[in-house]
């Protein structure tokens, strides 16, 4: 908790808070809403970038903490911000349904399943970005480009699936509260995937970071 407090007080870049506001994109008609989750990964990228500029790792290594704890702190910070992002998106989903937003022609509707789609996007980001970044924390760009490429491919596939996969088209991509049990199940499975990918990400990142020489 001390490291998480340190992350929030010293490391969060203002851009990460601004990205939360982009959950409002859900109010946009016919927009690939999963992109709003991508903006939060961009916020996390800014945090890692400013950490490098502020010599965050050198400062933290002088504190009585292990490298594994440092990795946990950063990934946990990301989880907190992603949780906030999901909460903001959930609020806009509710708002959109209240004002009668209608059907989204560019991917998943603004519904419960969209949050599951966000969790899967964050899972993919965690499993690619953090282990690659902790191989060399001085190089933030390459891991982010690699993770973003995978995330955009995922967004395209998710969008296509709302037309091509019958289960997604007929059950998940429908206005709430239609097919609520299926959407809830999808959300739970996505949360499980998120937990698993985050745990693996911490494990692989810590292994890479423990082998890294900081100059």
């Amino acid at each position: 908790m001390k490291l998480l407090k340190k992350e929030f007080r010293l490391c969060v870049h203002p851009a990460a808070w601004m990205m939360l506001a982009l959950g409002a994109l859900i109010l946009t008609p016919n927009y690939p809403y999963a992109v709003s989750f991508f903006y939060m990964t961009l916020g996390i990228f800014f945090i890692c970038l400013s950490s490098r500029e502020n010599h965050d790792a050198a400062y933290t290594l002088t504190l009585p903490v292990s490298r594994r704890d440092m990795v946990r702190g950063r990934v946990l910070l990301s989880c907190c911000l992603e949780g906030l992002d999901l909460a903001v998106c959930a609020a806009f989903i509710v708002l959109k349904n209240l004002i009668g937003g209608g059907k989204n022609a560019a991917g998943m509707d603004a519904n419960l399943a969209l949050l599951g789609e966000g969790l899967l996007l964050f899972s993919l980001f965690h499993i690619i970005f953090f282990p690659a970044w902790y191989k060399d924390i001085a190089k933030v760009g390459k891991p982010f480009v690699a993770a973003s490429a995978a995330v955009f491919l995922y967004i395209v596939l998710a969008l296509v699936s709302t037309y091509a996969l019958p289960f997604v088209r007929d059950c998940l991509d429908t206005p709430d509260p239609a097919h609520l049990p299926e959407k809830l199940l999808f959300l739970l499975l996505s949360a499980g995937c998120y937990g698993l990918c985050t745990a693996l990400s911490i494990r692989w990142s810590a292994r890479n970071f423990e082998a890294l020489d900081l100059q």
């Binding site: 001390k2 340190k6 010293l10 290594l61």
Partner: protein, 284 residues
């Protein structure tokens, strides 16, 4: 509280890079003393300090503090160590108050009273950011943090580099006061004149190898510097530890006991002269 007669023990430290190798560095720090760590740029001083602090992973060797090894108990040991580096500036846009609040939370032994005392003594204001501090003030702030969590051992990496003579003198006075309080200090620098004012012991690193670990006075007194008009006589060559040109001729560093054998004026060299001559001889 971790206590031991030897606050820091380094044994067989090795670190290999493609273009540099730290080789078998071993030393013990005397408690309550200032140990100067000298060597030219690139000799491996920072690599040694970074290996002690686990910034880099040594290929071989062990670092122990108060009977605990860094490999097994790094977090516990770091409760008792303060690291101050001239090259680092953390979170330049954050207020010192915020950085202090975060740092304080990691140290159960933190003393607000000590913190206020050092902040006052060093003339630091909590509302400022590191970006608003001079290099000397940044070092003083890092010292204030280290001393407020009760660090018994201070590792100083080039703390006086880039400072004006008055700021350097101020810092040296602070280090001497800390020594009187019983703190152990490892002071890495290539500004050897600073060490002549405060160090008790000298570690001399050349090309990644520790070539001297002695009391400062013994170290300086074990050499003599011969002054020659023109070129050095040929008979000096077998005794020469290093030769350097001057505007009138040259100076030759020899062991003290060898100096009387020549009819040349000689005197005790400064640390700076010893380092320069030894490095010159060592250069291929």
């Amino acid at each position: 509280m971790v206590k031991n007669d030897i606050p820091l023990s380094v044994r067989g430290l090795c670190k290999r890079y493609p273009s540099f190798e730290l080789r078998d560095v071993s030393f013990d720090l005397a408690p309550g003393k200032i140990t100067g760590f000298i060597g030219r740029n690139g000799a491996g001083k920072t690599t040694t300090l970074h290996s002690i602090l686990c910034f880099v992973k040594p290929d071989e060797g062990e670092v122990a503090f108060g009977g605990l090894t860094m490999a097994d108990s790094a977090a516990q040991i770091k409760q008792h160590i303060g690291f101050v580096s001239a090259g680092m500036s953390y979170y330049t846009a954050k207020r010192l108050r915020t950085i202090t609040a975060v740092t304080r939370s990691f140290y159960p032994a933190w003393s607000d009273e000590a913190y206020r005392r050092y902040m006052g003594l060093f003339g630091l204001e909590e509302e400022k950011t590191p970006a608003q501090l001079s290099n000397g003030m940044k070092i003083k702030y890092a010292l204030a943090l280290a001393l407020s969590h009760g660090a018994e051992l201070l590792l100083l990496d080039e703390p006086t580099s880039g400072l004006d003579p008055i700021s350097r003198e101020e810092l040296i006075e602070i280090f001497l006061a800390l020594r009187e309080e019983g703190k152990t200090i490892l002071f890495s620098t290539h500004i050897t004149s600073d060490l002549e004012k405060c160090a008790d012991r000298i570690l001399f690193l050349q090309k990644g190898r520790l070539t001297a670990d002695r009391e400062l006075n013994d170290f300086a007194a074990s050499y003599s510097l011969l002054s020659c008009q023109g070129d050095a006589p040929g008979e000096i060559k077998p005794f020469s530890l290093g030769q350097r040109r001057t505007k009138d001729g040259c100076t030759v560093l020899v062991e003290k006991k060898a100096a009387d054998a020549f009819s040349l004026p000689f005197r005790q060299p400064t640390l700076d002269e010893i380092m320069v001559h030894l490095e010159k001889e060592d250069r291929p």
